[in-house]
């Protein structure tokens, strides 16, 4: 399959932006938490789940989506949000708990909602799948070609919500695509200790739908299978499951002691980093000059820097704002 150079460039710069965003977030999160780690301290308190290493899953499918398509995401949402085009300033302000944030500081990093680009996420494993199912139902009822994508981790494929939703999506032939990011661990438990099948695309058989598997965190292969899944959904050919073998370079959350894996594991993974690989691929296979990539990288960094600056300079909400927005 030939891929347009514009798509390749977009995927590269978006992956780069996500990586830089998450690296900055790891730094911001660490502020105020040294030498003693206190989860409630610093400019970014609470739990923090970063997606460093998992960029290919987000960009490989979001490149095929439009504004009217819906994306739901779990507790590790930043890469999906950035790839779907969520307002970066307001997203970052939300994570810093500021009044300029997407939810005026009421949601935080696990609860980002941007109805302008139909993005939402949540902190309960598997719970976003039914929401995407409902968006797919609405798309069909309205007679549009819109699709809904639910991103989940491999652990969520063992939740009832996954199976209930796929049965209904198949039964009603809805434009739902469930993307399973198999990052190998449900917190500390490896997939082999939690899941009865070697990969979750096999479970598509149970619902009579399409299942795809993407090996080795490959953004190009993710692009290819996603293209087919999205086109099928738009044409009314029903739901799909895509499982991508991906890697989380960091702990489940920042502060995770990671006692469950070998210290060398991540070092080995970083040697075959998908962003580095794609950079080389663009230069070698597509003749993109390095200077052009450097310019894209600079632009992405500036956008991220501006978002962090916006978040830091924004005001906190008034304490009594806690009592607002319960009912519209």
């Amino acid at each position: 399959m030939t891929i347009s150079i514009d798509h390749l460039i977009w995927m590269y710069e978006t992956m780069y932006k996500i990586r830089y965003y998450e690296d900055k977030m790891a730094e911001a999160y660490a502020e105020g938490k040294n030498p003693v780690f206190n989860i409630g301290a610093g400019p970014v308190p609470g739990e923090m789940h970063l997606a460093t290493g998992q960029e290919p899953a987000a960009v490989g499918i979001c490149v095929h989506l439009k504004k009217e398509d819906t994306v739901t995401s779990p507790h590790r949402p930043h890469h999906h949000a950035i790839a779907k085009g969520v307002n970066l300033n307001r997203m970052t302000a939300e994570i810093f708990g500021k009044v300029t944030g997407l939810g005026k500081g009421k949601g935080g990093h696990m609860h980002l909602f941007d109805p302008d680009v139909k993005f939402s996420c949540g902190g309960i494993v598997g719970a976003g799948i039914p929401h995407a199912l409902g968006a797919a139902l609405a798309a069909k009822k309205k007679g549009t070609d819109w699709v809904a994508v639910a991103f989940i981790g491999e652990g969520a494929a063992n939740q009832g919500a996954f199976h209930e939703s796929l049965n209904m999506a198949a039964l009603w032939n809805l434009p739902l695509i469930v993307v399973i990011e198999n990052n190998q661990y449900g917190i500390s438990v490896p997939k082999s200790a939690s899941t009865s099948v070697p990969s979750n695309d096999i479970r598509a058989v149970a619902y009579g739908i399409k299942g795809y598997y993407v090996k080795d965190n490959d953004p190009i292969e993710m692009y290819n299978v996603s293209k087919e899944a999205v086109e099928r959904a738009r044409k009314g050919e029903g739901p799909s499951i895509i499982e991508i073998e991906t890697y989380r370079y960091l702990g489940h959350f920042q502060g995770d002691p990671e006692v469950y894996r070998d210290k060398n594991e991540v070092a080995l993974l970083r040697e075959k980093d998908p962003i580095v690989r794609m950079r080389q691929f663009l230069m070698k296979e597509h003749g993109i000059e390095e200077q052009r990539l450097i310019e894209l990288e600079n632009k992405a960094r500036q956008e991220v820097e501006a978002a962090y600056q916006f978040a830091r300079e924004s005001d906190y909400p008034e304490p009594e704002d806690a009592l607002k927005d319960l009912f519209v």
Partner: protein
Amino acid sequence: MQKTKQRLLTGNKAIAEAIRLEMERDPNVFVMGEDVGVYGGIFGATEGLFQQFGPKRVIDTPISETAFIGAAIGAAAEGMRPIVELMFVDFFGVCMDQIYNHMAKIPYMSGGRVKLPIVLMTAVGGGYSDAAQHSQTLYATFAHLPGMKVVAPSTPYDLKGMMISAIRDDNPVVFMFHKTLQGLGWMDQLDASVGHVPEEAYIVPIGKAKVVREGTDITIVGIQMTTHHALEAAKKLEQHGIQAEVIDLRSLVPLDRETILQSIKKTHRLLVVDEDYLSYGMTAEIAALAAEEGLYDLDAPVRRLAVPDVPIPYSRPLEQFVLPNADKIFHEAMKLVNE
């Protein structure tokens, strides 16, 4: 003057008529749930809708409450106005995450940017030996959790008017109807399950209690079945020279504090009756309200009558022992007025 002929409807037909009128008015309204289609809902709340609107707008679902209540959330975020039926409120255990972690919290967590105009309609109540997993009301379980309006109307008139309010509300509304007040042919035939219902669309506001009987000696607060029990008890109290004021709460969230406080200013005595469990429930909430804001109006301590803290038992004498009824209310009221 000629008396206007009043049209009588059962509770279930009043609800179905409300939904029908709103579906005719707004193409975004649709119904989803188990057996809501050709069956018309196990308790008749969607009777006739499938025949009029067909399977695209009256959708039978698999037995997958998490998925279809979650789907209502996803569809509502896209601008639809779903009405979803949870067949028995007791089944909330298989899908409460979608209800309280998502439906109730997303509007707040989004800073008000995501609206979820959902009606979660569900059957409550016991008294017909359906035992512990099919007889609860669980009013307080839902009312305790912020982010949902919770209503429990008692008459066909209110069922219709409050259902129309619920559908037009931009917030999630948990709409509880009492099984035995639906007027179904296969349950106890209660006069209260039939009543005058105008044909046109009308609204009964959410968050307003109703004084259904005026009195001067004691205030009895009830909801759904216990309102009807309280009215029956009030007749008996009258024979003993006691004038009871009866308030039908109708809405648990928002709670109409003012109507209750106004009433105890007048009667100086308060009895709260609930078909839900006693502890941490609606009766406690209203007793706390009276203690915090109406204590100096009271001539005697508040009394509460509710299900003692056990699951609803099956056998008839056991179940009747735990449920409130008119006799029990009468006796509690007599004790209270004699204090």
